[in-house]
């Protein structure tokens, strides 16, 4: 009769996917933002291909960081505004499980899309095609980590009227190590060096946040919902 935890996770993910397909603009806007931001750098710095290849790691990762910050803002806010977040919290499942399901759904929508779009921008920055798989792998780990950090930030700022500045103030410092290792992995992939070291560290960050962030985010959400 009662719904199992796995069943609840499945239902929440299906709900998020359906909501997002009804409202594709919320999915597309962060992607457009990513494309536009990465376009800015060649325009501002230099269209010279060798320079572009050197700045590509930083550009791709800063773009990914900012666009996932944009995407994460509505993660709990939309549900808090119409009262459905309360219903989720009161559904008889642990809040941590709900946060895990919502974050996974968020990553499936925003992170995976960004990983799929990244090669296009990488190609535009004259990154050699051999490195695309490594770049996508590093961005996949990175965006999942960012989704977890973003979940904490979104949960902390859900009750704020002007939460977006506060969100970046909270999430960006926490995301700095990610930026360092992610850009380093991408840089090595582009130059054909072994990217194993930074990829291991990205994996470690991803696992670490996946383990602990759900608890932090659910604690934060419980407080902001009071």
């Amino acid at each position: 009769m009662n719904v199992s935890t796995a069943g609840a996770v499945q239902i929440i993910i299906r709900r998020e996917l359906r909501l997002s397909f009804r409202r594709p603009d919320q999915l597309i806007q962060p992607l457009m933002f990513f494309l536009i931001v990465t376009t800015l750098f060649p325009l501002a710095l230099s269209p010279q291909l060798s320079v572009l290849r050197d700045i590509a790691p930083g550009v791709l990762w800063v773009g990914a960081l900012l666009s996932s910050l944009l995407a994460v803002e509505g993660m709990f806010r939309a549900d808090a505004d119409d009262g459905t977040l309360e219903q989720l919290v009161l559904s008889g499942h642990s809040l941590t499980v709900i946060v895990i399901a919502k974050t996974c759904a968020h990553w499936l929508l925003s992170g995976v899309a960004l990983v799929l779009v990244a090669p296009v921008m990488a190609a535009a920055l004259s990154v050699p095609a051999e490195s695309f798989w490594l770049i996508m792998a590093s961005l996949a780990l990175g965006t999942l980590t960012l989704s977890w950090l973003g979940a904490i930030g979104a949960a902390l700022t859900v009750g704020l009227k002007r939460g977006s500045v506060m969100l970046s103030l909270i999430v960006l410092p926490l995301a700095m190590p990610l930026l360092i290792f992610g850009a380093s992995a991408t840089d090595r992939a582009i130059h054909g060096d072994s990217a194993a070291g930074p990829l291991y560290l990205l994996g470690a960050l991803c696992l670490f946040t996946s383990t602990l962030a759900p608890f932090a985010a659910s604690a934060a959400l419980r407080i902001t919902m009071e």
Binding site: R14, L19, L90, S91, E226
Partner: protein, 209 residues
């Protein structure tokens, strides 16, 4: 419906909101087959009280007990016993009324579309089951929200202003549903600032500032 003697008891609950001491040592209990009608002026803490009973707000002092144990000991298990309708209807504007119910009720128990349609029929909402919630009027949303409460099949109902935005026919329908729930052994805490719940067996709790 469970037939155990369900019982909610609230014991000396104090809640401050900022500098305001909203709930000042409130105590009451609601047994199986009982209805508590909470009245009070604006700002008297009616909604706060419901949120405390839901377990959304932890009281600074005092405790909320369900079937003899503090709800903090296993909050999720307790919350699977309640059906809460807040002041907002809690519907996703982009989903249809039926989809809204399927996700909200589906998280609590395995439920068929027929069952959901049946509960919508009882609140008079079956006509707009397939309309997106954004297209519904406030009263229609209220009826869909009550259909959710009904479909949750929970022993304890917590309703915040369930009659607002409803026409007189709607008020009759919802009061009848609350009556029936209580008659079948359920419990309900209903916040309504009009004295609309005047049925037998209803205890009144007046909150004042």
């Amino acid at each position: 419906m469970k037939t155990t003697s369900t019982s909610l008891s609230v014991d000396g609950v104090h809640v401050w909101r900022g500098d305001r001491h909203v709930l000042r040592g409130l105590s009451f209990s609601v047994g199986s087959g009982q209805l508590l009608h909470v009245v009070g002026s604006n700002g008297a803490g009616k909604t706060t009280l419901l949120r405390v009973v839901c377990g959304l707000i932890a009281p600074e002092e005092g405790q909320v007990m369900w079937e003899g144990s503090n709800i903090r000991s296993d909050r999720s298990a307790y919350q699977s016993n309640i059906a809460f309708a807040a002041h907002e209807a809690a519907l996703k504007a982009d989903l249809t009324a039926l989809e809204n119910l399927r996700f909200a009720v589906g998280l609590r128990r395995t439920v068929s579309v027929d069952e959901l349609m049946a509960s919508m029929r009882r609140t008079g909402a079956e006509g707009y089951a397939d309309l997106p919630a954004r297209a519904l009027s406030a009263g229609q949303k209220r009826r869909v929200a009550m259909a959710r409460v009904l479909a949750c099949d929970a022993p304890l109902w917590l309703l915040d202003e369930p009659f607002s935005n409803l026409d007189s026919a709607g008020v009759e329908v919802i009061s009848a549903l609350i009556d029936e729930h209580v008659r079948r052994g359920g419990s309900a805490v209903v916040v309504a600032h009009h004295g609309l719940v005047r049925r037998a067996g209803a205890t009144q709790l007046a909150l004042d500032e």
